[in-house]
């Protein structure tokens, strides 16, 4: 093998892709050729250097955050597949480990209906311990099937949906069935909540064919020793 052939097969040699016979011939050549030997050494060194270029590792809790997101994606899928949570799912949630509070509205996109009225006007009080999930169930009573509606949850700065850290808005497409449609929101309060004095709202906005309805929950929060207390008040909707 000569120098030109060696240069031609240089990369295959470094990558270990040469047939044993060619490899042997190349090694025989470089044992007697300082120039080709140094060329191979340079290339090998460069390849080693490439592998040692430093990388910044992921931030703390990276894997846990993704796994939590997956968990909440499972919930979102149930919404996507079935429009909203089914009654049986809702019943199971009621019997589960989490406390679930229900607020119920009547929703219609009919032009005849000028206001969308909360059917449950009483406020519920939820105690939120920072960084722990509390499920709040919203119920939407629809007089008819509403296909391909767009659902958007708009959150205040101090409340997040589990698995969606830092997100102030979440949006997805869903259909409403006739009757009660349940939506469980796994809410998490952030530390900021204790210092929050102004009035805050969680808004569920349903849009359909260019029209939209806002369903608001007023949050009245106060700091407790163990965490925070939020009073959730369903209010009349501004369309």
């Amino acid at each position: 093998m000569n120098c030109a052939q060696t240069r031609q097969q240089l990369y295959d040699y470094i990558d270990g892709n040469l047939e044993p016979l060619h490899e042997q011939a190349l090694e025989q050549h470089i044992s007697g050729c300082e120039h080709c030997k140094s060329l191979i050494e340079q290339e090998s060194k460069l390849k080693d250097q490439l592998k040692t270029i430093p990388v910044v590792g992921p931030s703390m809790g990276f894997e846990q955050r993704i796994m939590a997101k997956l968990e909440s994606e499972k919930t979102a899928r149930q919404i996507g597949e079935h429009g909203f949570m089914t009654q049986s799912w809702f019943a199971a949630a009621m019997g589960g480990a989490f406390m679930v509070f229900v607020m119920s509205w009547f929703v219609s996109f009919d032009n005849q209906v000028t206001t969308t009225t909360p059917t449950t006007l009483s406020a519920v009080t939820v105690e939120l311990i920072p960084n722990q999930i509390q499920k709040v169930n919203l119920a939407f009573n629809s007089p008819s099937i509403i296909d391909k509606a767009m659902f958007r949850i708009i959150l205040p700065a101090n409340v997040e949906i589990s698995g969606h850290k830092g997100k102030r808005e979440l949006q997805w497409a869903a259909s409403l069935k006739q009757g009660t449609n349940n939506l469980a929101l796994p809410l998490v309060a952030t530390e900021l909540l204790a210092n929050e004095k102004s009035e805050q709202f969680i808004t569920a906005r349903i849009s359909h064919e260019g029209k939209s309805r806002d369903f608001k929950i007023k949050i009245v929060s106060k700091a407790l020793q163990s965490g925070l207390q939020m009073e959730l008040v369903p209010i009349v909707v501004v369309s």
Partner: protein, 188 residues
């Protein structure tokens, strides 16, 4: 069936399959994006997208390269979207600048000669064209075979082989051509 048997024959869940690859995918994403937060977002978005077709995961034979292929597609979409968004471009540049200076601490007196060489290699690598940059990351750094890279990049193996040779030659050219490389410095 006993509980042990039931556990033994339980089909691995999506989470079981994906979790061991999350960190690996992050490093792959980081090498492409050079930004921790973007790399984390990319892996997260990709994992969530994958979850929507989770049944596929059970059919995949070589999961690592299959995941990289999907991640690479997601990365190409990400940079395409970011290039279309001037706000994102501006933010990314700032983040990159801050992060790279904070991480590398490019204060000449703090860098050893070896570190300087590595930072030269890194800079030269980032100056390569996208295709050359990516093939070196995948083949020379991540260690995928050319056949695997062909699958990931959806490009014939012959094309990739000559591309890899050109990429390496370009990289070397950039390193040699760079002014004030350690070997060229004149010691007083």
């Amino acid at each position: 069936m006993s509980i042990l048997n039931a556990l033994k024959f339980r089909r691995p869940s999506f989470e079981d399959l994906i979790q061991p690859h999350l960190k690996g995918m992050y490093y792959q994403a980081y090498r492409l994006l050079k930004n921790q937060s973007d790399a984390e977002d990319l892996v997260q978005d990709f994992t969530l997208r994958l979850y929507k077709n989770k049944a596929k995961l059970h059919e995949v034979e070589h999961l690592q390269s299959w995941l990289y292929k999907g991640l690479y597609r997601q990365f190409l979409n990400f940079i395409r979207d970011n290039n279309n968004n001037p706000l994102n471009n501006r933010d990314d540049t700032e983040d990159n600048d801050l992060e790279s200076s904070a991480y590398h601490g490019y204060s000449p007196e703090l860098l050893t000669e070896q570190e300087m060489e590595l930072s030269r290699v890194e800079n030269a690598l980032s100056e390569l064209s996208q295709n050359h940059h990516h093939i070196i990351i995948m083949h020379d750094i991540e260690g995928f075979t050319l056949a695997e890279v062909a699958e990931i990049m959806d490009t014939p193996i012959g094309t990739l082989k000559s591309r890899l040779h050109r990429a390496r030659a370009n990289l070397k050219h950039k390193l040699v051509m760079e002014p004030l490389s350690p070997n060229q410095c004149v010691k007083s």
